[in-house]
Amino acid sequence: MKYNRKEFLKIAGKFVLIGGFAKILKANKLFAAVAGKPVNKEYDIKSNLWGYGIDISKCIGCGRCVDACKKENNVPKEPFFFRTWVERYGILENGEVKVDSPNGGLNGFTDKYKDEKLVKKYFVPKICNHCEHPPCVQVCPVGATYTTPDGVTLVDRKYCIGCRYCIQACPYGARYLHPKLHVADKCSLCYHRITKGLLPACVEVCPVKARIVGNLKDPNSEIKKFLNANDIQVLKPHLGTKPKIYYKGMDKEIF
């Protein structure tokens, strides 16, 4: 399996080799940021606070986000490791709630309920909630998972001891133990992308704009408009974790 860092160095190396090509690309600032240097120095961490919106009423359950996330972040392909996944809910007339997420929705969904009469139905994308009071960070014994000043909860792969306490503490099942690196892993909101002006991979590939991301400190950002224009709910609000993943169109059966 490839490792992100190695992979990065490889690409960076190649990039130096094709210097001529690089000159053309430099015109495109975005590009230079992605491939030319690891850290975008122009990124001002203090003026950002990342929030993320999910519009359940738009999601069509194509699973492209799950696929893109795994490819972007080198998430193991087996169906036990997800930084994001999509759940399918179908509520029958008698009130029975059917929920599933075969392979996290990565291969889309077959028409399993075509013979049932569903009174309500929806696809629900899930990711790490990047809580304001993250229980995972609270319990990490060594400081290997943390919330950045711009509100993203990250994992330090070089420092995590792999005790898995954070996995136990997460109410959302958003974390897993990376089977190869033996450290906790989870959605990073594509921190390497958002800090360079790119969208997270899941947002980039979503065909129906069911996922939006933006700066909560910027009153004109897409996420701010989304929050102001809609009725918003978060997952498991009673736990007091204060998620920064905001759902529109959330039904009571979703948790």
Binding site: F8, V39, I60, Y159, H192, K196, V208
Partner: protein, 151 residues
Amino acid sequence: MKYSYKDYKHLLRLLAIFLLGVGVFLIARALFTPASFGEFGHYRGDSLRENMGFAAEYAGMAACKKCHEAVYTKKSKSKHKGLSCETCHGPALRHSLEPKKEKIVKPGSKDLCHLCHSINSVRRKDFPQVDFKKHNPGEDCLACHDSHDPL
């Protein structure tokens, strides 16, 4: 004083060993704590930069425009305007940097279109879905629909 030095000499030695232990611990701690620890909070500041520096795979739709202007403009006026190029073509950052070397797949319609357009009772009704068993079965979707401008 009831006790003389020789009565608690062994205790002082024990104390010395403990103090030595504490000293060794403090030195080891100073040596092994990463330099950037505590820069932003109770974690390695370098970790934040490492996370920023991870390699990307997806280039973003804006990147394709420069070289695939025609497809880009066609698509942006089509029913598929909301779709990113990489939704169908997969990660293409490396391709964007070295198009000659890093080929990307042209997806076949077989495994692609059904993800979004196959009829599904949980999918919202206002989304265009076709029954693959009835809608021109056996034929390639691309024979009638251009993926960059489906209708």
